[in-house]
């Protein structure tokens, strides 16, 4: 889960990293200025926010009010802001880049550093050096080294998977300041990070990603759902979604998943179930109930694994056809889409 900058900055401050003086405006009535000049930053969880017009500068009171109102209601790359963070402007001489990342190959937290920080870091990727906690003292400039133990502590204690500061600047007073930060919280650790619970979005009881195609896909297990999507694509079809019911899905979860796809205007759905923990008869019951209420929907069903026989009996009694093989199901579904188009 991505963490808003204002919270990230609050954490940095708590862990002894200098950040500009700041406050958050969440509603129009809260618009007031405390210092000038000021930097106004839209609190959206998108990349390249500055290039998208999400960061503005105000030198006068009038400018401040106009710009704060603008940012408070402006969508940035399709996202409505959580609020506007107002920060004191820090004059600086040099921009650095630093990040701590949980690296799956090293199976460790690693440090990435560049002496060329700033908004063009994407174009300066070659200047980024990689190091770890055993070796950073040999590699990083002395002033940067000093903040590493604090960053590490923050990274560990807040269960982050990414902590990026860009730019990390040397102010004209010689002090190091974090001017912007990006943090990702490990979704699996939300249970022990009380502060994060407020930001967790209402979720479906399954994992769903909307895609652009026209063939709905439901399965259980991320791997099999992805493999089903791939096979649809290889056959020349376009998946409309990724929907993983997860292990142990029951009748109502199945109905809710089918209804969600229907809401998106999808009327052809592939349901590919290999039941391990999931019981096929539970899925079949959901299917029967859904089809009863939505006879116009075209479903391509393959159920195998746990309680397969019971499931097939349920489907037969309701005259719902099924496949034994996922590839014949997929090829039929894709062919029918083409014929109907």
């Amino acid at each position: 889960m991505k963490i808003h900058e204002f919270l990230g900055k609050k954490f940095l401050k708590e862990y002894g990293i200098k950040v500009p003086a700041a406050y958050l405006i969440k509603e129009e009535k809260e618009i007031e200025f405390k210092f000038l000049p000021a930097v106004l930053k839209s609190q959206v969880l998108v990349g390249s926010r500055m290039k998208a017009g999400g960061v503005l500068f105000a030198h006068t009171r009038e400018e401040f009010i106009v710009k704060a109102q603008d940012l408070l209601f402006k969508e940035i790359k399709g996202e409505n802001p959580y609020g506007v963070l107002v920060e004191e402007m820090i004059p600086f001489e040099k921009e650095h880049y630093i990040s701590l990342v949980l690296d799956r190959e090293e199976k460790d937290i690693i440090i990435l550093y560049s002496q060329n920080g700033g908004i063009d870091i994407e174009e300066n990727k070659n200047s980024i050096i990689k190091t770890n906690f055993e070796n950073y003292e040999k590699i990083l400039p002395e002033k940067i080294q000093k903040i590493i133990p604090n960053l590490r502590k923050l990274f560990r204690e807040k269960d982050l998977t990414l902590l990026e500061i860009n730019p990390l600047v040397e102010g004209i007073n010689g002090e190091i300041y974090a001017l912007d930060s990006v943090m990702h919280l490990d979704d699996n650790a939300i249970f022990r990070q009380e502060w994060a619970k407020e930001f967790v979005e209402e979720k479906y009881p399954f994992h769903f990603v909307k895609l652009d195609g026209d063939i709905g896909i439901i399965g259980c297990g991320a791997g099999i759902v992805m493999a089903t999507m791939d096979a649809v694509k290889l056959e020349g079809g376009e998946p409309a979604d990724f929907l993983d019911l997860g292990g142990g899905a029951e009748k109502n979860t199945t109905i809710e998943a089918l209804n969600l796809l229907k809401q998106y205007g999808i009327n052809r759905i592939i349901l590919n179930i290999f039941g391990g923990i999931t019981k096929c008869d539970e899925i079949a019951q959901g299917l029967v109930e859904f089809i009863g209420e939505n006879p116009e929907m075209q479903l391509y069903v393959r159920l195998t694994g746990t309680n397969e026989e019971e499931a097939k009996k349920i489907l037969k009694e309701s005259n719902i056809g099924y496949y034994d093989d996922m590839y014949s199901m997929i090829s039929d579904a894709v062919r029918m889409v083409r014929i109907n188009d």
């Binding site: 998977t161 249970f191 992805m226």
Partner: protein, 278 residues
């Protein structure tokens, strides 16, 4: 990995899945000797004694392996308990374990010479002999192919195909789909080489570089068996998380096109449709 002679303890045996799969593993022939649970009210599950901690499990039953069903918030503590007690193989079925807990588990397991498989994995099966895991056993007919997988359900799907239309499964190793896992594909190959298994199917997915590193390692070690590779997530959009914590593309590396290209350089072909694996 496993040889079928493991003396197994089930950690979290009194939970819904712990209980269910203890029963299934016992039926399959796995030597489940005891369970451990923090629920002090239950002393027995399917005739298997439930103990309070791993030290007792070792003292009383001399177990050498544990399978973990303990819920994610308590999983790290449970694994540490097993390692400290002296267990040498730990298979973690639990999903949603925080990544930093896995870092700690990984470090301590390496320091103590403990093999960790998982987390968020289906476990390991020797078809016809033993299973320390949760896989539906009828998808695994005994044979001569090793299946190494980062995905649970896809391992079932593919093993089922291979069982029906090919020579069957010698061993199924589910490594798990999380970003930080205990046993890597390379380490799974160590076992394949040691056991002299001549056919391997590697089931990988979008994200990371595990598959290439693992296969590169095996080839360097002189493995000359038949390697077939299947990837899931070819059509996964960039930057979106597709269920598995690990399955996300964050650049060219980790995309299936990239992995396919790398494997081609190594002389290993990627099979795009499951039936073509058989």
């Amino acid at each position: 990995m496993i040889n079928g002679n493991e003396r197994v303890c089930v950690q979290g045996i009194t939970g819904k899945y712990g209980k269910l799969h203890t029963e299934k593993m016992l039926k399959y022939g796995t030597k489940i000797l005891c369970g451990v649970s923090k629920n002090k009210n239950i002393k027995n599950i399917n005739g298997i004694e439930v103990l309070n901690n791993m030290n007792d499990a070792i003292e009383k039953y001399n177990v050498d392996t544990s399978i973990v069903f303990v819920p994610a918030p308590f999983a790290k503590e449970a694994v540490f308990e097993a390692i400290n007690a002296g267990v040498k193989k730990i298979i973690i079925i639990t999903e949603h374990i925080p990544q930093q807990d896995m870092l700690d588990i990984y470090k301590i397991s390496k320091d103590n010479g403990v093999t960790i498989i998982g987390p968020n994995c289906p476990g390991v099966i020797l078809p016809g002999v033993s299973k320390i895991g949760i896989m539906p056993e009828n998808a695994f007919k005994p044979g001569d192919i090793a299946v190494i997988s980062r995905s649970g359900t896809l391992m079932y799907e593919i093993s089922n195909y291979l069982s029906k239309y090919s020579t069957g499964i010698k061993v199924g190793i589910g490594l798990g789909g999380d970003p930080i896992i205990g046993t890597s594909i390379a380490e799974a190959f160590d076992y394949i080489i040691e056991e002299d298994i001549k056919k391997v199917v590697v089931i990988g997915e979008v994200g990371g570089n595990e598959e290439i590193k693992g296969i590169e390692y095996a080839l360097k070690k002189g493995y000359n068996g038949d390697i077939k590779v299947f990837f899931a997530g070819r059509t996964a959009p960039k930057g979106k998380r597709m269920g598995h914590a690990g399955a996300i593309i964050e650049g060219l590396e980790g995309s299936i096109e990239y992995k396919e290209m790398k494997l081609k350089d190594l002389g290993v072909n990627v099979i795009r449709q499951i039936p073509n694996l058989a």
